[in-house]
């Protein structure tokens, strides 16, 4: 989960005087092709490298039972052959040109991230444009890649107790909305995806009007735009993808999940329904996230890890999502710790904030962390491209990146207490405990 970067924007207002010259809204050139593809270009000639990011408005929230995990599967298949570029050719050509890439799928978006030397600009634009429309999904490659995903799920979930628990907790807390399942999908769905269904899903969501293309780095904007026109302009726009209509009903009482499993250490989760990232409540809860969970001086780390030694670690917080998701508290309990006690201590800490709010010093500390992290994240071409893409998809426009500071700065200290009282309530809570077989409780 990429959760924190947007928090850092708060910083801008506090230290506008330090705004790095290399990252100003005015320097971003914005274009839109007739087929709806939005383009953001930012030249930065610091190093001879270009970051080309393509973000699509599709993720696990667009899936349905039986097809869970398919957004992520398509992300993998995007490297596995089109009518023009055979299976594996994308990577071979890219690497031959000195490029590398990665890709990720989230609940709300899928991103393709390329880094390459300036001379590879044309070949990368050509190949990125090609795979928006030309995927083959050849049966043999399809089956092989299914195996890769099954292995990824075994690695990421089934052989990782913390992940097994959080998958269960999320599916328990979220009943109706597609955030119910994880991005990787259920194993039985992974093993039974059908080619025609996957193809239909790809055609629905992979269209220029459902994407934003961002280029940051050592290139010349006029030339880049010419190349984008050349390779993308003929791609037809698609019909607008269907909206996600399911709304999670309010939770009406606390929920609990227990897992008993062979293990040497327990796992623990506590989650609350939380607003989406465009809600005004997102900002106070993000500041609360910092105060509770970020750094060794944060309230929960200090109490659970340092003072009472109940946990090896504690982490979590707000998620930046299009639809309402969860405020999460994940702890790695020490072996033998009473998990009910752990839960009670966390509740006590949340209760203190609900009753007394946070201190002025904590408020300032959170703002400082936000600001510092923002700048550290902006040092690279990829950092800039990633933030622009996320602002565009999750917050509605890249411009929000430069105005969100107002939202953070405008948060009053008492609003954090109000948000804690509104969301971190007993009826809104789901707790999960993974108990090592043999019965440590």
């Amino acid at each position: 989960m990429q959760k924190k970067l947007f928090g850092f924007i708060a910083a801008l207002i506090i230290c506008a005087a330090f705004l790095p010259a290399a990252f100003r809204k005015e320097d971003i050139k914005v274009h839109k092709l007739d087929n709806g593809l939005k383009i953001l270009l930012l030249e930065d000639h610091n190093i001879p490298q270009v970051a080309l990011y393509t973000y699509f408005r599709v993720g696990s929230r667009n899936e349905r039972p039986g097809l869970t995990g398919v957004s992520h599967f398509i992300e993998h298949m995007m490297f596995n052959g089109t009518k023009k570029i055979g299976p594996g050719e994308f990577d071979r050509k890219m690497e031959f040109s000195g490029g590398a890439n990665n890709a990720f799928t989230g609940t709300d978006m899928t991103g393709y991230t390329d880094w390459f030397p300036p001379a590879a600009l044309e070949v990368m634009i050509e190949m990125e444009a090609d795979r928006i429309q030309g995927l083959l999904l050849e049966p043999q490659v399809f089956e092989s890649e299914r195996g890769v995903i099954a292995s990824e799920r075994r690695m990421g979930v089934e052989n990782n107790n913390d992940s097994i628990l959080s998958e269960n907790v999320r599916a328990t807390a979220i009943m109706a909305h597609p955030y119910h399942w994880g991005v990787i999908g259920w194993m039985s769905d992974i093993l039974s995806w059908k080619r025609d269904e996957v193809m239909a899903y790809y055609r629905t969501f992979y269209a220029p009007n459902n994407a934003v293309l961002i280029i940051v780095g050592d290139f010349e904007s006029g030339k880049a735009l010419e190349l984008i026109q050349k390779y993308y302009a003929a791609i037809p726009a698609g019909p607008p993808p269907p909206a996600v209509l399911t709304v999670e009903p309010p939770q009406m009482g606390p929920k609990q999940v227990f897992i008993r499993k062979e293990a040497q250490t327990p796992s623990f989760n506590m989650v609350y329904h939380a607003p989406n990232c465009q809600s005004p409540d997102f900002y106070p809860l993000s500041i609360l996230d910092m105060v509770l969970l970020n750094g060794e001086s944060s309230r929960l780390y200090k109490r659970l890890v340092r003072d009472e030694q109940l946990a090896l670690n504690v982490y979590g917080g707000m998620n930046e999502t299009i639809d309402p998701m969860l405020f999460t508290i994940y702890a790695k309990p020490r072996p033998g710790v009473d998990l009910n006690r752990l839960e009670a201590v966390i509740e006590e800490e949340l209760g203190k904030i609900q009753k007394e709010g946070i201190t002025e010093k904590e408020y300032q500390k959170a703002q400082n962390m936000i600001r510092s992290d923002f700048y550290f994240g902006l040092q690279t071409n990829s950092g800039k491209a990633g933030q622009l893409g996320r602002a565009e998809i999750l917050f509605g426009s890249y411009e929000k990146l430069f105005t969100q500071m107002d939202n953070y700065a405008a948060v009053k200290r008492e609003q954090i207490q109000e948000a804690a009282n509104k969301y971190l309530t007993e009826n809104n809570k789901t707790v999960g405990k993974l108990i090592p077989e043999g019965g440590v409780r």
Binding site: C15, P20, A22, N46, I47, P48, Q49, E75, G88, E95, F96, G98, G99, A100, N102, F104, T105, G106, P117, P118, A119, E143, S144, R146, G147, V148, I149, A150, S151, E152, R154, M155, G156, N159, N160, N161, I184, K261, E262, A263, Q264, N294, G295, E296, S297, S298, R306, Q309, L312, R334, P335, K365, N368, M369, R371, S372, Y375, Q379, T380, N381
Partner: protein
């Protein structure tokens, strides 16, 4: 949900390659500052962002120099240095660093300890003051020692719950035995339990010394101001008397034949393995050839390992290989994982690929692609203040010179097809290696029998 593990892209900095001819990017030469107490600092100004990054290496304060009886003491010492001085207790240090939105980390590698710090420029003087206080005046309170010691014992249990994380410490123990480069930074259950706070104080006294410190600082600060800040802080670190010479690290082990270890984790649905063999020392002249060769064998997404195990057969999410380098020698490691019933098929393919690379080498086009890839991916390794500061400290530490990459990159550019093959023949193992598998023994044992005799271990047994 990344498409492939990041480590595949981020092959060790030392394996990095040259730039394309068109790209004039070079690591800028830093300015040298010597503090009055002898600490050498390499500095570069970068006014693009209101940030400063600092990295310092202290020779000898790493785990390769700790006595085997207290394995893990180097890392524990580094951690406890941040847990209290006469001026600030542990909570005050954490609070002050967090309040600035800064980062401060002291950790132990093999040959050195590393102090990394970064903040907005305006907070840098305060951050260095805290870092220096931790470095010069640590208290090593009994209470903090006990907390960290027991936390580390439990942390090892958590690692053992995750086979993908557990395979690495098992491998290092199998490969190195009692050799100091096989020490686990984390320590082991047995050695952690035997340690006392007096061991920590001894280690600190013996190995933390200003004359063994080298630092890099990059960011938005003027040289005169930096010198003033550093003299008032790190400059106050006085030499505690004559140093005992650092112990000599013995030559690295060279496996003869095959050493096979199977660690039983009965709930694992996937088997995880690492295969290792001797590599080469840091800065060795084979480095460019090894980089070109390993990129092709297991160092990037289209590498042989990834192509055969992932792309063609869908056996795994990730397969890669890399070299780890130290002053005295190095290590080649290949690793992957697959579901229990496929482990035999997977290992057959890996052993065949090793043989094939040694015998046939790589196609001319592959070698060209590898050179291009290493060139194209290099500049971003030095994009941030922190990576530049760390690189300055590291190049100085190993006495490689700040033009190391310029020279080295030119050499990579010139690596030929036959040199890539020679590197494979020299560095990839065929019959002499260590192989460790962590998985469900009941399901995988039969498939492994054909490779030889396996030493059996249980994940629930203490230590590795």
């Amino acid at each position: 949900m990344k498409r492939f593990i990041t480590t595949i892209i981020l092959v060790a900095l030392f394996l990095a390659g040259p730039f394309l001819a068109e790209s004039a990017f070079k690591l800028p030469a830093p300015e040298k500052i010597v503090l009055k107490n002898g600490i050498t600092v390499y500095y570069l100004k970068n006014a693009d962002y209101p940030l400063i990054s600092f990295q310092m290496l202290i020779r000898g304060a790493g785990y390769a120099f700790e006595p085997g009886t207290v394995e893990g003491i180097a890392s524990l010492t580094a951690e406890l240095m941040q847990k209290g001085t006469p001026k600030m207790d542990a909570d005050a240090i954490a609070e002050a660093v967090d309040f600035m939105g800064a980062s401060l980390d002291i950790s132990a590698g093999a040959e050195s300890a590393t102090i990394s710090a970064g903040s907005l420029s305006e907070h840098f003087p305060k951050l260095v003051e805290i870092a220096a206080d931790c470095l010069i005046n640590p208290l090593f309170k009994e209470e903090e020692f006990a907390k960290e010691q027991s936390k580390r014992v439990d942390n090892i249990k958590a690692i053992k719950d995750n086979p993908g994380a557990a395979v690495r410490p098992y491998f290092f123990k199998a490969y190195f035995g009692a050799h100091p480069l096989g020490h686990l930074a984390s320590g082991t259950e047995s050695t952690l339990k035997k340690m006392t706070v007096a061991d920590v104080r001894d280690f600190y006294k013996k190995y933390y010394r200003p004359e063994r410190a080298i630092a890099g600082v990059v960011g938005n600060i003027e040289k005169a101001k930096l010198i003033e800040i550093l003299e008032q802080t790190l400059g106050k670190w006085s030499n505690p008397g004559p140093a005992a010479p650092l112990s000599t690290i013995p030559a690295l082990p060279k496996p003869k034949g095959q050493k096979l270890i199977l660690v039983d984790k009965p709930d694992a649905s996937q088997a995880y393995w690492i295969l290792g063999a001797p590599g080469y020392p840091i800065g060795d002249k084979i480095t460019p050839q090894a980089a070109v060769m390993n990129t092709l064998f297991g160092g990037r997404f289209t590498s042989w390992l990834s192509t055969e195990l992932r792309i063609k057969r869908g056996l795994t999410y990730g397969a890669s290989s890399n070299f780890q380098t130290w002053s005295l020698g190095g290590l080649f490691m290949a690793n992957s994982y697959t579901k229990n019933d496929k482990i035999g098929e997977m290992l057959d393919i890996v052993l065949d690929l090793l043989k094939k690379a040694r015998k046939d080498g790589f196609a001319a086009e592959e070698v060209e692609s590898s050179r291009n890839y290493l060139q194209g991916q290099f500049p971003q390794r030095l994009e941030t203040n922190a990576s530049k500061a760390g690189t300055y400290a590291m190049l100085a530490f190993y006495n490689l010179g700040f033009d190391y990459y310029d020279k080295y990159l030119a050499k990579v550019q010139a690596v030929s097809q036959s040199e890539a093959k020679d590197a494979a023949t020299k560095l990839l193992p065929e019959t002499d290696f260590v192989l460790v598998v962590v998985g469900k023994a009941a399901d995988i044992k039969k498939q492994l029998e054909k490779y030889g005799t396996w030493t059996a271990k249980k994940i629930t047994d203490p230590d590795f």
